[in-house]
Symmetry: C2
Subunit: 553 residues, 2 copies
């Protein structure tokens, strides 16, 4: 008589979820396994800095989940919620946004953690992160954009901002990112005749007193020295305070003008995990040593999202729990699968136990640091070890070949600086520090600005007619609505009179909205007449254009 | 005594502009050449279908302009206008949108042509195009998304729409695209256990009576047969009429339900070219046989943007002018550079003259058709020729190696289905045909809808309370504003009562706007009270959630 199969749902396709699902697939006669993830691919996180540096193609740092997990149902969908009583997971997928309830017998939560920068005003809006493939791709694009603009920039201040790059957080990701990005920039400079190497400033900012906290002190010191030799300014023992679109402010009050801030700090719980009302600590789900979520039968947690004790009586000490590394997540996933199989068979579960086999970090320029089975290696040998290890770990023969070919080619050819940009968002929040210029005379206005917090002042001086106009804007007040009437007018001077936040809406989206929605159109026409007068000439050299291509009505 | 250098501006970085600039660079002592393009790379157009099919990486179908054109100033910027009297080009670049005027002595217009689908209602909004690298990438992403959704789709109608793919236009690009996409889909199916090969429908729709008009008739016939053998439905002699998000309508009245329409038809002048008030015909700039723009000294045009006569007294016959192919653009660019050099030296200019050396088109599945120096080849040999030719043409040793490696790997490994999606736009126009369902009960509403044209009807039936609510919406009226109060409510039924167009604004962007802008917030709260009443229960099973992460104020 066939045993009735248990339905196992895995939510999250990182290291923990994938390795749990993979091992469960071997017990196919007992389990019906489905993995739900918001992307259809697995991200090989340790290679993201190489994607940012254009050393490897973005698609070679990921593997389709359907390739890794043959025979397991993969569902690309967004998880909306879990009903522990009904034992269902609600997902939304595709074009038709009809929620679907998926029943489960056993649920594995493997959602990892999210980036949480809320403690640092302006950082959520202005920092790039290094968590997902899009993040890495965006960083590469952004860095190359800065070089493109700096090459033709006339104003020295702007050029300096464009050529200053700040990475916040000197853990594993921060160090590899700063090293790889620094390499990319210096190697790319041969294409940018108007930029000199000495104009490049790259900072690594770390709150703790040393970089690479998980490495032995002497390796971290070696790494610091190498990074400095490559021209990177390593600043330890300094926290980060806030950011705007043109600067980052450190805890000691110093301000670094820059257009590039990469934040590799700030871990917070995944939005969904937070909403589940499970026992949590340090943003992670409390489990027992078998990875069962405390107080819930049939619910398991694994990977970064889980707080798995390594000892019988853990104290309030992170060292008593499994660390949040890929190495641990892989073993946790496998052990969890074994425990689930044991549970179904009525056998005894095994507590999770594992000791790190070592760490590796690339430092750019064919150098790395490594500690493997207690042996410390640094320099070129460590770098070869690093490459070999990741190559062996990469899923799929084709990916291995492509990555190897790229690594070899990279020795001989300059980096690929083709700038494949993704679409700009229609709205964004922008932070300004008191005194910052929001718009300068002569700029073409490209959107509609609504003040969320703070106060800004507009001044328009028409040198020809000697007209003078000024106005201040507080929360709920707005400027740029003239794009409605004359698209892309040149602006006056807008300065932040205090620390401020503004909601920016792109010209295209704002105009579409205002045109489609008569109420808004009327409001703005009245508003402009009332505020500026119907006949006012707005600053010298007003330019008009109409780039928008509207639909065929 | 050094000669004063002439400033030559090239606007546009396609085949014509790049090859003109490259040849001019050899006369470096006489010219100061600057090329302006909106991307910092050159697109190798003939490989775009391979990018769409995931056969090669997107970055291998492009080459950085700075790599191709060493020693020439490259400026990544948007050209806003040209002042022929002042001899300046106005550009806007970078974060600071201050327009910059660049003076020139000689100007080369090499802007190509744009896609213009205005004649086909709904096509501009709902068709994918194949002009740029992003287009190719978007098509690949879209096709794989459809497979992902079809694999878990429950409704047969939806599954059929998702698995139907329509390519409009059977020129060179259309034929290669339909063949490559068809290959991609069938090769990817091994990963999608719930989709059978016979469920896939791929159409190629052509207005003319045969495909590949530039090829000899027997080769076109061979190509048609090959495409049909691969399961593609080739329909010739049928025009395309209109499109919505769920169907394409043909001129004979038949409607093909589909979520994927690729338009390779519809050439129109570049926006900037159109605004220059030059003599135009068929959307192209009239030049003399030396590629000088008629009636303007120091202005040249090249490539697809230019209408270059091949004979002394051209009639109203496109055959009397240089065709719009890469092959011709390359020769035009070189000849233009020679003529410019001759002009400066006071030598005689040469009229443009060139005869095509042949054509190549890939048909997928290692088959192609080719005509080279009058010799016709088809099948595998033609395909090898095709690959060899493009490989030889690809710029840069590294790119050649990478593309070759990928082509070889492709024989052995299935296509990469990792779905790296780009951000969704904040607003878009959606076309509906009379009777189309816009929203269905149970869907989560994800945005704010304003009617631009037509009429829609909302019906909400609450089965529990037996409440019934209905309303019609005309131009300027809107629905979905309830997302303001309760995010992601389930909806009632909304049906188009006539052919309609709606402006959709994403929930995120709409809510940011409404929150920041008190006037709008008030309006909508009043509106909802007035329209639905304060106590109305909106359909069974209303779900709430709040996914939005707002900035740290």
């Amino acid at each position: 008589m066939p045993v009735e199969k248990k339905k196992v749902l895995v939510i999250g396709g990182g290291f923990g979820g994938v390795f749990a699902a993979k091992k469960l697939a071997s017990g196919k006669d007992r389990f019906d396994v489905e993995l739900i993830n918001n992307n259809n691919y697995f991200v090989f996180q340790p290679l993201l800095p190489e994607v940012a540096a254009a050393t490897i193609h973005s698609s070679d740092a990921v593997a389709p989940l359907r390739l890794l997990l043959r025979g397991i149902q993969i569902r690309q969908a967004e998880v909306m919620g879990v009903d522990f009583d009904k034992k269902t997971v609600t997902v939304v997928q595709g074009f038709r946004r009809v929620p679907v309830d998926l029943p489960y017998d056993e649920l594995i939560i493997a959602l990892g953690m999210s980036v949480d920068l809320k403690r640092f005003p302006g950082l959520p809006e202005h920092a790039l992160t290094m968590k997902s493939l899009s993040d890495a791709h965006r960083l590469r694009t952004h860095v190359i954009s800065c070089l493109e603009m700096a090459d033709v920039a006339k104003e020295p201040d702007l050029k300096r901002e464009l050529l200053t790059f700040v990475v916040v957080g000197a853990g594993f990701t921060g160090v590899e990112t700063v090293a790889e990005v620094n390499d990319l920039i210096h190697r790319a400079l041969k294409y940018y005749p108007n930029i000199k190497h000495e104009e490049i400033k790259v900072y690594l900012i770390e709150y703790a007193n040393r970089i690479l906290p998980t490495f032995p002190a002497d390796l971290a010191e070696y790494a610091t020295k190498r990074l400095r030799m490559q021209g990177i300014e390593v600043k330890t023992g300094i926290g980060t305070k806030s950011a705007t679109s043109t600067a980052v402010e450190l805890a000691n009050g110093s301000v670094i003008p820059t257009r590039t801030i990469v934040a590799t700090i700030g871990n917070g719980p995944h939005r969904l995990v937070e909403s589940l009302n499970l026992g949590m600590q340090w943003g992670r789900i409390k489990t027992d040593r078998f990875m069962r979520v405390l107080g819930h039968d049939g619910i398991w947690a694994v990977g970064d999202a889980a707080l798995i004790p390594l000892v019988e009586q853990p104290a309030e000490d992170p060292m008593h729990y499994a660390p949040q590394t890929a190495q641990f997540a892989v073993r946790e996933g496998r052990q969890l699968a074994d425990n689930l199989i044991a549970k179904v068979k009525g056998e005894e579960l095994k507590p999770f136990a594992y000791t790190s086999k070592g760490s590796l970090a690339s430092l750019g320029m064919s150098k790395a640091v490594a500690e493997v089975y207690g042996i410390k290696v640094s320099g070129f040998l460590a770098w070869l070890l690093w490459r070999g290890f990741y190559l062996s770990f990469l899923p799929g023969f084709a990916t291995k070949v492509r990555v190897l070919v790229n690594w070899i080619l990279n020795v001989f050819v300059p980096p690929n600086i083709a700038l494949v940009q993704s679409a700009m968002p229609g709205t964004r929040y922008i932070h300004y520090r008191k005194g910052d210029k929001v718009l300068e005379p002569g700029m073409l206005i490209d959107g509609f600005y609504t003040v969320v917090k703070g106060e800004l002042k507009l001044t328009i001086d028409n040198l020809e007619t000697e007209e003078h106009f000024e106005r201040t804007f507080g929360p709920g007040e707005h400027f740029g609505e003239r794009v409605l009437l004359k698209s892309s007018l040149r602006t006056g001077l807008v300065v932040a009179r205090e620390d401020s936040i503004v909601l920016w809406i792109s010209q295209r989206d704002f105009m579409r909205f205002a045109r489609a929605f008569p109420f808004l159109d009327t409001y703005f026409k009245d508003y402009i007449d009332r505020t500026f007068g119907p006949d006012m000439i707005f600053a010298p050299g007003s330019a008009e254009r109409s780039h928008e291509i509207e639909p065929t009505h």
